[in-house]
């Protein structure tokens, strides 16, 4: 088997194992102990913020607060908070970014 397909196969098995891990054991997790529930509750805010913030404050690979992506992101954040609507947030965020980049 070639290097390429070995890599793809290993990456596929490893990724599926991580995705399946807790889902495979879910029937034993029907009653989650309180300490585990504490941890699980914090996963969405922590993970989503970890995905969002670097894209806003270091789009080019170093921290830079005076660039259009942070400004457009803050504006989009206000829309997201007010309307909770993905389409509206995308239109405002991408629109603001294009306008700011054109200035």
């Amino acid at each position: 088997m070639s290097t390429t397909w070995t890599a793809i196969g290993l990456a596929a098995v490893g990724t599926f194992a991580m995705r399946a891990s807790f889902l495979a054991a879910a029937h034993r997790l029907a009653t989650v102990p309180e300490w585990a529930h504490r941890i699980l509750r914090q996963i969405p805010p922590a993970a989503l913020a970890a995905l969002v913030l670097p894209a806003l404050v270091r789009p080019e690979g170093t921290i830079d607060l005076l660039q259009p992506r942070l400004a457009a992101g803050i504006l989009a954040g206000v829309v997201a908070w007010r309307y909770r609507n993905i389409a509206a947030t995308l239109v405002v965020g991408l629109g603001a970014l294009m306008v700011l980049e054109a200035l």
């Binding site: 290097t3 390429t4 397909w5 070995t6 890599a7 793809i8 290993l10 990456a11 596929a12 490893g14 990724t15 599926f16 991580m18 995705r19 399946a20 891990s21 807790f22 889902l23 495979a24 879910a26 029937h27 034993r28 997790l29 029907a30 989650v32 504490r38 941890i39 699980l40 509750r41 914090q42 996963i43 969405p44 805010p45 922590a46 993970a47 989503l48 913020a49 970890a50 995905l51 969002v52 913030l53 670097p54 894209a55 270091r58 170093t62 921290i63 992101g73 989009a76 954040g77 997201a80 909770r84 609507n85 993905i86 389409a87 947030t89 995308l90 965020g93 991408l94 294009m98 980049e101």
Partner: protein
């Protein structure tokens, strides 16, 4: 199923250009279109697919490429743990199918919907509707990207759609003070981690630091009268 597909449909604005890049990158790195399709069908996780193409294109070994991909996908462990209690009463085969389809977008859409629902309507049906639409779009874009090369014009900053989608889902996830602490600490730690050279691992560092901070904030909040 339809509700899930409807929930993620606007996210395709970000998924489509990313999928085109995922199709074009392995070809640009000399791995051929069949490797692009293999990555999208077997691995099905955008950033890690680019990492495999990048490592192999640079002459790296299969083990290094796969290790890079798995490092980037470590957050799937957290998603799996986060979703599992909500689908505890479903069949194992269905949960394994869900695991195959699990990505950032349908994780975030599903957890947002399932928290506080009464559990009467089928949760997995929502998840599969979201996951299958994302899967189909991803495979089509991979094929188009692999055949045509990346044809997305540079002036359209569509890559920015990806963090914007997570931003919309982040807002309702910040439900109380511990969640706010988790978000601020998680985002901050991810930025600092990336700044320190953690690369794709920065997201996982941010998530773990954020979760820890959120738990600590909750415990402190409960002790205070």
């Amino acid at each position: 199923m339809r509700a899930g597909a409807t929930a993620v449909a606007p996210m395709l604005i970000g998924v489509v250009p990313f999928g085109l890049v995922a199709g074009a990158t392995p070809v640009a790195n000399g791995l051929g279109p069949e490797a692009a399709v293999g990555l999208s069908t077997l691995v099905f996780a955008g950033a890690s697919q680019l990492a495999v193409a990048d490592v192999l294109g640079g002459g790296g070994s299969a083990v290094v490429a796969a290790a890079a991909a798995c490092t980037i996908n470590l957050r799937m462990l957290l998603y799996s743990a986060s979703l599992a209690p909500y689908v505890a009463d479903t069949r194992l085969s269905h949960r394994m199918a869900a695991a195959y389809l699990l990505v950032d977008q349908n994780y975030a859409a599903s957890i947002t919907r399932w928290v506080g629902d009464d559990g009467r309507r089928s949760r997995l049906s929502f998840f599969f509707g979201a996951g299958l639409l994302l899967w189909l779009a991803w495979q089509l874009c991979t094929i188009v990207g692999a055949l045509l090369g990346s044809a997305v014009p540079e002036e359209l900053p569509l890559d920015f759609a990806v963090p914007l989608v997570f931003l919309v889902l982040l807002v309702p996830a910040v439900t109380d003070r511990p969640a706010l602490v988790a978000a601020v600490a998680g985002g901050g730690a991810a930025v600092l981690g990336a700044e320190a050279g953690a690369g794709p691992l920065a997201v996982m560092i941010g998530a773990v630091v954020g979760i820890t901070a959120g738990v600590v904030a909750e415990v402190i909040g409960e002790r205070r009268p």
